[in-house]
Symmetry: C2
Subunit: 93 residues, 2 copies
């Protein structure tokens, strides 16, 4: 999957990301991957559910992966943060 | 799956839930389901990752499901909240 098809979920309002996903899908991309870390994980699930229930109803949830990523903070020490990847696929007609 | 095998993730510290999962698994239950809603979703992912990486290394992630649940708040109006279910299975020896 190319980087174009990835939507990174951060701290912006949920609807910003919903719009990003819907725009990508409507431009013909059949598959979008949502990626989020830490507290944004809940927001990623919200985005997937809102797109699926309200905007693109012929959307299927693909694989959902969780993992741990190591991050280096400002002071230079490492900490672990959880991450999630949610695959959204448009059903072929 | 019986209700005994479900660990509901709420607002307590992560390690409380990690301990609950590890205790259940060590008592011989081979499969535990984590369930969380709303902001606790990120914490559920943390719990799964911490158990898997630090405590029970022969643990496999099973199915991960996301969904939307309708909740009624104090004022009696309905709102939607995202939910996650993460299945953790002990690998058979």
């Amino acid at each position: 999957m190319s980087e174009e098809n990835v939507v990174y979920i951060g701290n912006k309002p949920v609807m910003n990301y919903v719009l990003a996903v819907v725009t990508q899908m409507n431009s013909g991309i059949p598959e979008v991957m949502l990626k989020a870390r830490g507290r944004a994980i809940s927001r990623a699930v919200d985005v997937a559910e809102i797109v699926r229930n309200r905007f693109i109803t012929d959307l299927e949830l693909g694989t959902i992966n969780i993992s741990t990523e190591e991050m280096t903070n400002k002071e230079g020490s490492n900490s672990n943060v959880s991450a999630i990847e949610i695959q959204l696929c448009k059903v072929k007609e």
